[in-house]
Amino acid sequence: MASQLSLNQRAAILSIVLLVVGLLIWEAAIPAQKAAEELTEYERLTGGGAPKAGIPPPSDVLAKAWEQLSNPFYDAGPNDKGIGIQIGYSLFRVLSGYFLAALVAIPLGFLIGMSPVAYRALNPFIQVLRPISPLAWMPLALFVIQDSQLSAIFVIFICSIWPMLLNTAFGVAGVRQDWVNVARTHELGHLKTAFTVILPAAAPTIVTGMRISIGIAWLVIVAAEMLVGGTGIGYYVWNEWNNLDLTSVIFSILMIGIVGMVLDAAFAALQRTIAYAE
């Protein structure tokens, strides 16, 4: 019977089973708060009956998700904005920092990939700057830029530049000489060769770099927003932790995962459209 279903269908069924079983175990593992009349004298005296901030059961999280997602864009003051607004802020920062990085990394990567001199000249700088945790730039950024919003964007910029830069350089340097020779025998100029031969040939490697970068940028924005505060999903998580609202914390953790997954899927789709088989 099971063999009549396709591989995907079987996998989907298994996923759902795992999800349901996981949620049930979670739900069952959370001890219910005892009602006040059932408490013993001792518990009453030691305060054991006071509502404790425990891990919420998944049913609470789902209820929270329903509540939040049914009105994601409400704005009731600086500490009470809908999840949609918070994610919007984060996405705005990520995408602006990311596109600025792409604007720098891809042309620079082209140059490095095409010119061994440029590669050797720039390599020491790249090797030193690349391993620096992006958050280490935050104090310097805050001091120089004097604006927390722009500093967060700068941190995204600096963390997403390296994978794109290195992958572009690697992809461009690895373009088969045969294809470059095709361009040469057709008397294409440098710019034309770059756009009609080298760019499409290196595109899969470049987009792989872009995909790694957007993943890192989304990882980093949460931490950056916890530092700079104000708005954004990272700030939201931290704020709900300060409110001891673990239901919201768990809900927002889930949202971070889902948005990251969507961003990654978008680049995976782009990768598929520009991939070619040799």
Partner: protein, 300 residues
């Protein structure tokens, strides 16, 4: 004596040999090709055929010497010299049709897209590619189809000189036969000059007006130029019945099997020119293989 259309003058190519010395692939090579001629070069692997072709294409610079086409020295690649690379060199992210369009657009920058499209389709049709297949990517085509696309791309640009580096190397005998005949059909209607590398003696006899024979390297030489005295149009099945066919074939086999080695590695001073060999039915069918090879290679 007037200069041939394409003339190779005192061409020398050296490479570092990887141990600090130099490897001389060939030295002071001289030969010419007439306009409209179909010349095939035969020689053992590593003797320097591709090196010569890359220099003719302008993709590589010789250590010394010049190549002149129509009286002008070749420097850098040009649309007048079309190349069909050994490994097809189609751009894998473009469909067959777009690969041809890529070439046509580069040649005729002022043509409208519709005209480019029509011209490209016409040349794909000439090599027998029509219908849905022309919209496939190279990876979805068979080796023979890729080769045809590559030939269509080169011919569609009407280059004055067509350079083919072992174009049928990867094909099975049947496909080879078909494409060879397609190549002859397209070429015979034009004024184009063809220079082709191959390892296949029968292919060389079928296609060539003249076969250049190279000795083994290092210090390889273009030792002989063999006229193919079989009238055109030729077909695979008919040429074998021609009285000159086996005489020519034996001569080539002898050269590649024995004399290319005997003549190898000899550094000879002065400009080297291939000796012309003409095998016609009236003459002796087989030049004596015992003659002193050095004497045979003397410049004529």
């Amino acid at each position: 004596m007037s200069k041939p259309y394409l003339s190779v003058e005192n061409l020398t190519q050296q490479f570092p040999d990887g141990q600090g010395g130099t490897l001389t692939v060939f030295e002071n090579a001289n030969f010419g090709i007439e306009k409209g001629e179909f010349v095939v070069i035969l020689g053992h692997s590593g003797c320097g055929k591709s090196t010569i072709m890359n220099i003719l294409a302008g993709l590589a610079e010789p250590t010394s010497g010049v190549v002149k086409m129509d009286g002008f020295a070749v420097s850098g690649p040009s649309l007048d010299r079309g190349v069909v690379f050994q490994n097809y060199s189609l751009l894998p992210w473009l469909s067959a049709l777009r690969n041809v369009q890529f070439g046509v657009k580069a040649r005729h920058r002022d043509w409208s897209p519709a005209k480019v499209l029509e011209h490209s389709r016409m040349f794909l049709a000439k090599v027998g590619l029509e219908g849905d297949v022309i919209h496939r990517k190279p990876s979805q085509l068979s080796g023979g189809m890729r080769q045809r696309v590559s030939i269509a791309r080169a011919f569609a640009n009407h280059p004055k000189l067509l350079l083919l580096d072992e174009p049928f190397g990867a094909l099975d005998a049947l496909t080879r036969g078909t494409i060879q005949e397609e190549l002859l059909k397209i070429w015979s209607g034009t004024e184009q000059t063809v220079f082709m590398i191959t390892h296949d003696i029968d292919e060389a006899i079928l296609l060539a007006d003249r076969i250049l024979l190279m000795t083994n390297g290092p210090f390889a030489r273009v030792a002989e130029s063999v006229d193919i005295t079989i009238p055109r149009p030729r077909t695979r099945t008919e040429i074998v019945d021609h009285p000159n066919y086996y005489a020519i074939r034996n001569h080539l086999v002898q050269f590649l099997g024995r004399r290319s080695k005997e003549l190898a590695g000899q550094k000879v001073e002065g400009p080297q020119r291939p000796e012309t060999v003409r095998i016609a039915r009236e003459s002796a069918p087989e030049p004596e293989p015992d003659a002193n090879p050095r004497l045979r290679a003397v410049n004529s």
